[in-house]
Amino acid sequence: MPFPFGRACTENARGVRYVTPVAKAVFAVALAAGVLSGCAGTERPLFEAVVAATDPPPEVTPPVQVDAGPPGMEMRTLPLPVATPQDDEDAGPRPDPGLDPTAEFPWTESLPRAGTCRSGRYAGAFECVLEGELTGLPLSAAGEVAFTLTGSAEQQILTVEEGSLVGPLISASTITGKLDCTTDTFEGLSEDGVAGNPFFPGPFASFLGGEFDDQALSITGNFAMVNEQGQTCTGMFSVSIAP
């Protein structure tokens, strides 16, 4: 039965349905007179598996079928709720009150890098200055350095292979070491150097310590040689990936 005084029930923007006070009063009279019903046909037993959880009796009125508007989902029974102006206010998004604000997940974030730690053949040069002034003039040594970096990016550590140092009266045929892709640090060591230079005689070892430039795909850093007499030659080296 349609409500005789216009729209009995309405619904605000948040889906809260309520009945106007006038409608509520009319319903009460209609219910008392048995004009309205909540049953449209055969019914199944009620409360088969459902009972009230609390002892006090719920205040329940007979179901009332109300014309709430369009057919389908809108044609349904409605409660007699309390409508307040606040019902129409949008409370906005609220966080779940059950969340624990003290829960933390610490881990060091890293800024993304554009380059890559790349395997391949690297070649370049070194130069160094001998300590002491044996002739009254600074003495220097220079030459070429080359090595191959191999390994999988999955490992993030590339290994030095096939390394060599070659210069006037200086040579070394083995370099060992690694490039740590996470820190971009390079370390190399050669222990089989041979020098025929009268100012830097005998077997020597050399050290290379540098930083990988993942944009230029090059390594630049410090170079040092030390012979059995304890003489040192310190300077710089630089290599870049072979085209």
């Binding site: 909540g38 009972v51 719920p58 779940d96 624990d100 881990w107 060091t108 890293s110 490992q155």
Partner: protein, 424 residues
Amino acid sequence: MTGAVCKRRPWLLGSCWALLATALGACADGAPRTPESGAGAAGGVDGHAGRGGAGVDPIAGSEGAPPARAPNANAILMGRCAKVTVQSQLLPSNLLIVLDRSASMACNPPPITDSPTCERDTERVVADLPNKWEITRDTLLQALGALPEDTVVGLSYFSNDDSCGVRSLPSVPLAPFDARQSSALRASLLNVTPNGATPLVGATVLAYRHLHDKALAGKIHGSKYVVLITDGEQSDICSDPGRCRDAVECTRLLLEDDVPKAASDGVGIKTFVIGVPGSEGARPVLSAIAQVGGTAPDSCEVSKGNCHFDMTGRERFGDGLRDTLKEIAGRALSCELPLPDPGSSGPLELERLNVIYSPPDGGEPTLVPQDSRKPCDRGADGWQYAPRAAKIRLCGATCDRVLGERGRGGRLDVVLGCPVQIVQ
């Protein structure tokens, strides 16, 4: 009869009032009153003679019976006790996909390239056949297409550089899976190539951080999941010296600290784990993450490595991954409702709240009972409060039905004021 039952069992007085009221108002339209509508009702209250009894699916009815008209829902809806009825909606699911793009993903999957070989040399051997990354990417794109539009999806890679880099901010930020988000995910995935190590622990920890921070800020609501897809274990080199020194220590930290914390009630992030070919040696670890992360099946054993989605034994990796992602998408659907705001009607009384479901196509509204007899995912059928009474969860067949009829015009209402109706 009703009155007699109520006299015999005064503790059922509340229900009797409802029945009495229903009986008084019933059938004024001339429809015949059947014996069921009266005697059956009393029998139901009695708890023995009613059809179905405890455990009956209050929505679908029992034993093939036609759907109940469920006037008990009307009793709640129409009761003077009902103060406010709020139309509710299922909260969305939030999926943050944490995807391995380490160098080994560039290998062809077994049997073309076995996992040990791939670990040593990450080159793709057969250029004409897709590598693990391409299979994962393309299958992921297909599977995402099946997600409901209100599912919130984001995508993080590990690494986000070509080394060990990880960040909490996803490469594709969380957003509802609409056409725009679908395009963003596609564009991102198609522009990524495998490289770098496997900073699995850091990526997972930071994914938890991002989801939790978003939830605390009220930016996301509903269930939260991390979907971890990897072909290996944590790389030694990708440790965070402030927390752990090597892969073993970092993995232990993840399993004993971060994953349980994420799965706890106060955070509520579950972790799905998919192990793609190459993760054979990581089965126990990945299974442990899934188990502690709350997504493992009951019967699994971590020591056997069968608690996560293991793709390593699949003959057709792509097919297996597609099935898995489809299953995850289904399991991740949310069956949660927000607690309504009672407005000025007073504080929310948890013991005076009821849930009404109205099926599509104008079906009769049906009361969904609260069922706390069993855990929500272990046999309950109705609704429960989430931990700390933060949300309402639909459970069992009730959840299945609501999800099954999702998007077809069904309606959920939360009614405040009347005593909660429970399954006994």
